[in-house]
């Protein structure tokens, strides 16, 4: 039996570090279904949850897994699942239920090449738009992109904290390369890890409204069996949780689930930069491609090209403000991602034609070589 926080230094894969991050964050339920390259997260959780009085279940499919994760969250437990493209597609409807019912939980997508069964054992970053809009309806989502095993450990904790704070499913959009690479991971002492738990209701139970937003736009959340007689539905509902089939209620509900994110962008959005202060060319990247981009920027600097990196840790909500600001001062942009231009289009939207913008990407299967970025920088600028 081991503790929830395995304080120490390890050589770990990204997948295992993700599981350890979840446990450190307080996750006590995992419902999953095996899929390459995310299986190792489930495997790690299957054993480790038993050490911490948690519960693991391998469901019959990813639809069931996602439904069970939501159920467990309403049972009062921090819960998660992990999958890859095909499973992520199957989870979409219930991710929408989680958004609509404001249910905290974490969904990890260890991305592989698609479409369809695609490249099960090779990485890609091509589910980024599915992460944004994969479930039907209009909503906001939070998605984070780690670029190393150490980061996946920390960002999994961040993902739980954000999901609990803002009551919604938070996505970790990693990929096969990070998931399967082994690197040094330092797990700090438990007392140094900040853990956020869902806001809890106070006051009279009979008057409680599970969707009446608090000061930061988020409603406190009780669990089933606590005497609130909750009614939770994926139908359009009022603050009480009752279904109301009216345009006004629809407007109010969608405002609730979008504004709680939009009003807190500063708290949610995380970016990092590298040699960006004096940069004339901004390289925009996230996840594993950050590794490519950092090497490329360093190389470009050696060649006298004033490139810098803006690294998106939070992908959704999109760091529009940061990119718009850059667009006013740099001479050009390069997006680096393993797809044919998903986040690139978002960058384009923010740049708004002010300066030229280029993409370095391919449809998946391997990490992008820094030379492709350096070559583009040399040719284009």
């Amino acid at each position: 039996m081991k503790p929830a926080v395995l304080t120490g230094e390890y050589f770990m894969t990204g997948d295992v570090a993700c599981a350890e991050g979840a446990l450190a964050a307080g996750c006590r339920f995992f419902g999953g279904y095996p899929i390459t390259p995310a299986t190792e997260i489930a495997e790690r959780m299957a054993l480790r949850l038993s050490h911490v009085d948690g519960c693991f279940i391998q469901m019959e499919d990813e639809i069931g897994a996602m439904a069970a994760v939501l159920g467990a969250s309403w049972g009062g437990v921090k819960s998660m699942t992990a999958t890859s493209g095909p499973g992520f597609s199957l989870m979409m409807e219930n991710i929408g239920l989680g958004i609509c019912t404001e249910t905290p939980c974490v969904v990890v997508n260890v991305q592989r090449g698609g479409p369809s069964t695609g490249l099960p054992t090779h990485g890609a970053q091509s589910d980024m738009m599915q992460a944004r809009w994969g479930s039907h309806g209009h909503y906001e989502i939070i998605a984070l992109a780690p670029s190393s095993p150490q980061e996946i450990f920390y960002l999994t904790i961040t993902a739980f904290n954000l999901s609990e704070k803002y009551r919604l499913p938070v996505l970790i959009m990693t990929d096969e390369i990070v998931g399967h690479m082994s690197e040094k991971v330092i797990i700090p002492e438990a007392k140094l890890i900040e853990i956020v738990s869902r806001p809890r209701p106070k006051g009279r139970k009979d008057r409680f409204k599970p969707f009446a937003p608090g000061p930061n736009g988020v409603a406190p959340m009780p669990a089933a069996g606590e005497g609130y007689n909750l009614h939770i539905t994926g139908l359009t509902h009022d603050e009480k949780g009752y279904p109301v089939m009216a345009v006004e209620t629809q407007t109010e509900m969608v405002a609730r689930i979008t504004e709680k994110i939009q009003r807190n962008l500063d708290d949610i959005i995380r970016t990092d930069d590298f040699l960006l202060d004096d940069a004339e060319i901004a390289v925009i990247s996230y996840g594993v491609s950050v590794r490519t981009s950092m090497a490329a920027v360093a190389e470009a600097r050696k060649l006298g090209i004033k490139a810098g990196l803006l690294r998106l840790v939070t992908i959704w909500p999109f760091p529009e403000h940061q990119i718009c600001k850059l667009a006013d001062r740099v001479k050009g942009f390069v997006t680096v991602e393993i797809n044919l231009g998903q986040i690139h289009r978002e960058v384009e939207r923010c740049v708004g034609g002010k300066v030229p913008i280029f993409l370095v990407g391919h449809p998946g299967g391997t990490i992008i070589h820094p030379d492709s970025v350096v070559n583009l920088l040399k040719e284009a600028f």
Binding site: G31, V52, C55, I57, G64, A67, I232
Partner: protein, 290 residues
């Protein structure tokens, strides 16, 4: 002269009003729809079972039957189409103290959600599943279901159903359910008794409740609301412990009703605790919250 009680001016309370969200009544079910009767029976069973209703949760999928969760004054979850059982599985595993009742339709539980039913029964997940079988998809306007009789008409089998329907109790039995019964909404008392028994029993319990959908099924198959009830009355054969393989619904020869399975088998959680959380068994920890 004897005292004649005066009619009370105040609206008297229906005996089940304390379990209903009266602020949401009238419910959406059509006149003559049997779902309300099955729902009422379920509430009576919940009340009569003596379980802690504060720790009791109703989970529904999508469909007319799935709206039940919206009318019960308990913690209640109206999930996605077919996914009530896996959602309930998560709830139960997160807090094993909860009593779980899944109340949903035949399409929800056995077409789109069939896989989840199979596996929850196999695992012996501790919950009571009540299926309102109205032989079609009521909510979407009367399409063919996995339970629609051979040759019956629906909007998507306009000339007659070419498919063979499920024998639901056989399926539940084959998957490992520890309690299996079938009644019609007309056999309300038996239905209530069965639900009461199922709620009190640990393990995966399944009750099929035949119920009319006069608006979508009845209308296309020349049955007025009362006709269906007459069929239930005339064709019912109560045969407890009948062999599950003989339970195909045959409106000509007869519909076998009764309790068919009542066995004991360790639940998923019991197995899991034994193998993975032996310390929990000693400490008797109720929830997962540490």
């Amino acid at each position: 002269m004897q005292e004649i009680p005066k009619p009370s001016k105040k609206q008297p309370c229906h005996p089940l009003d304390d379990l209903i969200r009266t602020d949401r009544i009238p419910h959406i079910w059509c006149p003559g729809c049997g779902i309300g009767t099955v729902f009422s029976s379920c509430l009576a069973a919940l009340k009569g079972s003596g379980i802690n209703l504060g720790k009791t949760v109703m989970v529904s999928g999508i469909g007319c039957s799935g709206r039940a969760a919206g009318y019960v004054k308990l913690d209640s979850f109206h999930t996605t189409h077919g996914r009530a059982i896996p959602f309930a599985t998560g709830l139960k595993l997160a807090n094993p103290e909860l009593n779980i009742v899944v109340f949903s339709g035949d399409g929800d539980l056995f077409a789109i959600g069939g896989n989840h039913f199979i596996h929850a029964a196999r695992r012996n997940m501790d919950m009571t599943v009540i299926c309102v079988n109205n032989l079609n998809y009521g909510m979407t306007g009367g399409q063919v279901a996995a339970t629609t009789p051979y040759l019956a008409k629906s909007t998507t089998t306009p000339v007659g159903n070419p498919e063979t329907p499920f024998n639901l109790p056989l399926m539940a039995y084959a998957c490992g359910a520890t309690y299996v019964a079938r009644w019609t909404m007309l056999h309300t008392r038996d239905l209530t008794d069965s639900i009461t028994e199922a709620i009190g029993k640990k393990g995966f319990s399944f009750i099929e409740a035949l119920s009319p959908c006069p608006v979508n099924y009845g209308r296309r198959n020349k049955q007025k609301p009362l006709d269906m009830l007459k069929v239930y009355q005339k064709k019912a054969i109560i045969k407890n412990d009948a062999d599950p393989s003989t339970l195909d619904i045959d409106f000509e020869k007869g519909i076998i009703l009764g309790k068919f399975v009542d066995v004991d088998r360790p639940t998923f959680i019991e197995h899991y605790d034994k193998i993975y959380r032996p310390s929990r068994l000693q400490e008797n920890v109720p929830g997962l919250n540490s």
